[in-house]
Amino acid sequence: MVRIQKQDFSVTEEIERVKRASKSIGGVVAFLGTARDISKGEEIVKLDFEHYPGMAEKKLQEIRERALTNFNIIEMGIVHRIGKIDSGDNIVLIVTAAQHRNDAFMACEWAIAELKRIAPIWKKETTRKGEVWVEEHP
């Protein structure tokens, strides 16, 4: 239910995968992070994501396990892409499923904030001015 990969993913397939966990699911929430084409007024030519192999997967797994323990949800799936990503393309998807929508919304919001906080993944932005490793958490 947790993956880091170079290739794109299908949002529909990922939602279906999470939905298959149980027939008690009554609400599914998905957060999809995509590559915007502008940063601080500069046009982004491309993005590159790097991760710490092993530790990044472990931290995403930890986020899923903590979400399943601390929120009233039934399943959570996380996919994050690495490598070169063009503007408009998918970066990250978090899908949460619960009996009721509110639990799914809360777990999803918590999970993306936690991913940004603890997952060793880095974004490099290339603009016409050059390359910069992003250091903030917007």
Partner: protein, 82 residues
């Protein structure tokens, strides 16, 4: 030997992805940082930054973490995933 891994901006500053350092016995994170700063003066100013985290064997280190032969240490600049 202790394997040290550099990522993102620190990989560029250190000019390499990995290094192997000799660690005498079991040493504190602070002592290990001192060795790193001496061996990699180009990134010395980043090593003490609060925003740069250090992991040992793929878990976040604290000031009480001890580092010994065979460990894998990584210098982690601020994350920007998601």
């Amino acid at each position: 030997m202790v394997k040290v891994k550099f990522f993102a901006m620190l990989k560029i500053k250190a000019g390499r992805e990995e290094a192997n350092l000799a660690a005498p016995g079991s040493i504190s994170l602070e002592k290990f940082k001192d060795i790193l700063k001496k061996d990699f003066p180009g990134i010395a100013e980043f090593i003490d930054r609060k925003s740069v985290m250090i992991s040992v064997n793929q878990e976040f280190a604290t000031k009480d973490t001890m580092i010994k032969d065979g460990d894998e240490v990584a210098l982690l600049p601020p994350f920007s995933g998601g």
